[in-house]
């Protein structure tokens, strides 16, 4: 009997939850939610947070070498924005009942994933332009729909993230534009960066729809509004004309505008490379994780000191009050 009652209660909670999502209302941390919803959100939001902080590294690689003071300051501010995004996203994730330490452990142990694109190296200054233009461009396409996702803290974080990302994208494009208006050496540098970042950027929008495991459920929860292939097409359609304006050639022999569909046709993506990097064998996977792990491990004594000091201060206050 008891069991039946529990089941009925559960069913009605689920109905309320489903109805809320259907009405486009937000699910808040204190609301009841199915365990699978909680887990999927922890997975996706933390993956997103990890991508922000790992993403600081390839760009951080050029801060000390930025070619002008203006560029140095802009790049520092951009990387700092990414730290800020990581911070709101970790906070949003923590509302689902997991601690920041656990989330970091998952990143450091390799259990949690982050966007594979950050496992590619930044070799020239033009890479900083290409990342802003292409990687942030692809990120925006992925993220704009999330501003209206069902989980309140995630949706609100994304509104702010998207505003800043679109600023970063314009900044990246402006770096490319400056290079393309510069000397032949600068143009070559820009073209080389596009050649290296184009395909990884397309891969960033995720595996093809028939390979993607989470799409259906995520669509239902508004964690996704379009499929990976639709997003990829949108990215290509938007980016190719921007490359034309720069006078750069997109490195795809099969790229061609299709008058009938109104979209660009494009060549085959090397999914083998994608899975190799996802599985941990990109050029920088090891460096990225060890940089994060070192920062955390070397910071342990600092965090311990802050806690010990705060405890001592609290004790003093109590004594003074007595």
């Amino acid at each position: 009997m008891e069991n039946m009652k529990e089941k009925e209660q559960m069913k009605s909670l689920e109905d309320i939850f489903e109805a809320k999502i259907a009405r486009d209302e937000k699910i808040e941390p204190k609301d009841w939610m199915p365990e699978k919803y909680r887990k999927t959100h922890i997975r996706q939001i933390s993956q997103h947070a990890h991508s922000e902080i790992v993403g600081m590294l390839p760009e951080g690689n050029w801060i000390t070498r930025a070619p002008s003071l203006r560029r140095k300051v802009a790049l520092l501010a951009k990387v700092q924005d990414e730290a800020g995004h990581g911070l709101y996203l970790y906070s949003a994730c923590e509302t689902l009942g997991i601690s920041r330490e656990e989330l970091y452990d998952q990143l450091h142990s390799g259990k949690a994933k982050y966007s594979s694109i950050f496992n590619y190296p930044t070799l020239t200054w033009a890479d900083i332009g290409a990342i802003g233009w292409l990687v942030d461009g692809a990120a925006i396409i992925n993220q704009v729909p999330l501003c209206s996702t069902s989980f309140g803290p995630y949706a609100r974080a994304m509104v702010r993230v998207c505003k800043e990302e679109s600023f970063h994208q314009r900044q990246g494009y402006e770096i490319m534009m400056t290079l393309c208006n510069g000397t032949q050496e600068q143009k070559d540098m820009a073209q080389d960066a596009l050649n290296r970042w184009w395909w990884p950027s397309l891969m960033m929008l995720g595996p093809t729809d028939d390979e993607s495991t989470h799409t259906e459920q995520s669509m239902k929860w508004k964690l996704k509004r379009k499929t990976n292939d639709e997003l990829r097409q949108q990215f290509i359609d938007q980016t190719v004309p921007q490359a034309d304006i720069l006078g750069l050639k997109v490195p795809d022999e099969n790229l061609k505008y299709n008058n009938e569909t109104g979209h660009y046709n494009f060549g085959d993506i090397d999914w083998e490379e994608f899975w190799q990097v996802v599985k941990g064998h990109g050029m920088c996977n090891k460096e990225r994780i060890s940089a994060r792990k070192n920062a955390w491990d070397n910071g342990e004594w600092v965090r311990d000191a802050a806690i010990a000091y705060a405890d001592k201060q609290a004790d003093k206050e109590v004594k003074e009050a007595v």
Binding site: T64, L76, T178, Y309
Partner: protein, 251 residues
């Protein structure tokens, strides 16, 4: 008071902001927590912003057709006039904080005086920078208290950093002949007057942080005359890489 006097005087102040800003920038993405990472990057941004204001003024004063970037990236090592303290490496978080605190206390006092300079550009830059630097001083001072009065390990690391960096504090108050001339004319600051209150402030905070004042009789100097530690060449080879490799290009 020639423009060249003023330019050399500006180097003595602005190069500190540039080199310390560059040093802190190295840490971006590698902080002990995300919150400290963001705060430290803010300080780097403030310092580099101040540097730009000073160097833009240098470009105005210079008889040559130069920009802030020429000033920042195209001088030789001997032409940088920053103190040795700011070029010391990021050995660990304790060194970063102690270096910052030793500099911030001085920087704040210097700007307080510079606000009364006869030169309106100095007044304006000092006024804007003071707000930023008073925050830096609070950040580094608060952290130094946490490290000093935190755990045994943090205390030992903070003390080590103090003992090692103390020798670079005296140089903050050295006056080059040019500094003397500019200060005498009412444009610059006579930093010798700041020395006592500087050490009083530092001593009081170190005491609160349960840390010891080193008993050092000898100090290092040279940066203000362009004679740097061996670290400086590496800072510059990183910082100047693009401008040296691709001369004359716009970025």
């Amino acid at each position: 008071m020639t423009n060249e006097n003023l330019i050399q005087y500006i180097y003595g102040i602005a190069d500190n902001s540039l080199i310390l800003g560059q040093r802190i920038s190295e840490l971006c993405g590698h902080g002990p927590t995300l919150e400290t990472d963001i705060a430290m990057t803010n300080m780097a941004l403030d310092l580099l912003g101040q540097t730009r204001s000073y160097y833009q003024y240098v470009a105005e004063l210079s008889p040559k057709d130069i920009t802030e970037d020429d000033v920042a990236f195209l001088r030789t090592e001997r032409e940088y006039k920053n103190v040795l303290l700011v070029e010391q490496p990021n050995t660990d978080f304790a060194y970063v904080i102690v270096r910052q605190y030793f500099f911030d206390v001085f920087h704040f006092m210097l700007l307080k005086e510079l606000e009364n300079s006869k030169n309106v550009n100095f007044q304006a830059i000092a006024k804007k920078s003071l707000k930023e630097v008073s925050y830096h001083k609070r950040f580094s001072g608060d952290w130094l208290k946490r490290l000093g009065d935190g755990t045994e390990e943090s205390k030992q690391k903070a003390q080590q950093a103090i003992d090692d960096l103390w020798v670079y504090t005296d140089e903050l108050f050295h006056m080059t002949d040019n500094d003397k001339a500019v200060s005498k004319a009412g444009y610059g600051v006579d930093t010798t007057n700041l020395k006592d209150s500087y050490y009083a402030a530092i001593t009081s905070l170190l005491k609160e942080a349960t840390l010891d004042i080193p008993d050092t009789k000898y100090f290092q100097k040279g940066g203000k005359n362009g004679i740097h530690t061996e670290h400086m060449g590496f800072i510059l080879s990183d910082m100047q890489y693009m401008q040296r490799t691709y001369p004359g290009m716009k970025w």
